[in-house]
Symmetry: none
Subunit: 229 residues, 2 copies
């Protein structure tokens, strides 16, 4: 999936220039013509980086930058300022207001793209593997949340760990003993049959409504996460 870049700029020529070059460099591009449009756009779909004009009608670029920094979910969003001014004090204000970098007009598209790459290189890893997905199940490790088809699902601690383990290798069959080791702990003694009970609970929670059962029972072997038997 290509990084999605939001351009916030009111001069159509510059928008065109950037859009053309960014798309040629295989980025996805969104446009906002002023600060308000930009805020709405960011709320709708969070970009991977923003190219932000310093001089905007309405809300100034510097103010928009501050607003974006204020919300935790966009605090780390890389912002590159586009500015016509070359004076040092202004550049400093730009950086201090929270921009990650700036480019002075007139700029070459190649330079913008190089800076974009530099800035994305730092930002992307933060979208680390904190979620597991399988089919329409989404499991958020950091938030201890599970969703199925967008709907929130509540699981107890043991069911959560069980699902997590299954989702780490979808399609693989785990014996009751393996599951006990991995989910309950290596030297805990519980009945193997107990796994059945928790599998059942997990199924019940996941299939709430009338969704398809994604847990496959393998007779005399164990269980696996995949569709249909």
């Amino acid at each position: 999936m290509q990084p999605y870049i939001l351009i916030v700029e009111d001069e159509p020529d510059i928008v065109e220039l950037l859009k053309y070059n960014l798309e040629a460099a295989d980025y996805e591009v969104g446009i906002a013509r002023d600060g308000d449009e930009a805020e709405i756009s960011v709320a709708e779909r969070q970009p991977d980086a923003i190219l932000l004009d310093w001089m905007l009608p309405g809300v100034s670029g510097i103010e928009l930058c501050r607003r974006i920094r204020r919300r935790p979910e966009t605090r780390m969003l890389p912002i590159i300022m586009l500015t016509a001014r070359g004076e040092e004090t202004d550049r400093l204000r730009g950086l201090d207001s929270g921009a990650d970098d700036y480019v002075t007009k007139p700029f070459s598209p190649a330079e913008v793209i190089a800076r974009l790459r530099a800035v994305l290189r730092r930002a992307l890893p933060s979208t680390a593997v904190e979620t597991l997905e399988y089919e329409d199940i989404m499991l958020d490790l950091a938030g201890h949340r599970v969703e199925r088809a967008g709907r929130n699902i509540h699981l107890g601690p043991t069911e959560f760990r069980l699902l997590r383990h299954l989702m780490e290798h979808p399609g693989r069959v785990y014996s009751r003993e393996q599951l006990l080791d991995a989910v309950w702990g290596r030297d805990i003694y519980v009945e193997a049959r107990t796994v059945d009970v928790h599998i059942r609970r997990l199924r019940k929670a996941l299939n709430e409504g009338d969704a398809a059962d994604l847990i496959r029972t393998v007779r005399s072997a164990g269980y696996a996460l995949d569709k249909a038997g």
Copy 2:
């Protein structure tokens, strides 16, 4: 604790200039005169950022930059290139080789420090943002104030830090131990159950009136800031 900055530069005058200004700006400063010294120094004590001369005796700046990027533990280390060259292609090579930013000589110390701050802000998440927002909660770091839906909320110091920590990563679950570390301090001993008490106070203060509870309890895991359970 002040950020520790490593200067990699062979010209004594420039080293002096930077060292003086950085220390005046309350940074801790280390010096390396060439690439090898720099590598050893980084291995001994990892800096929070590196100011790196492009032209070095021995290993070139660009090569050192690549080496640093190669090791996982220093991959994210912010690097600012100091370069005498102004031509665009060289600047691009610098950014592409993995530098986070560059400054062309002759540079003003103020600009270097501004860029350093920008680069550290990204690396040390907590710097430089003065307000946080989540849903209708607004937390003003500088003023130690909290508002919910425009209404002022009074919190004690511990509750304030607790809320602040939760607001820095909404949706993420923190265990009692993590919260004790982050909010109380790394080597303070208090009962883990005490966290419950403060969570309760925080809830009580935030939900004054009949606002929705935004703190989610995750059984056997901890607490998170988000809506719905």
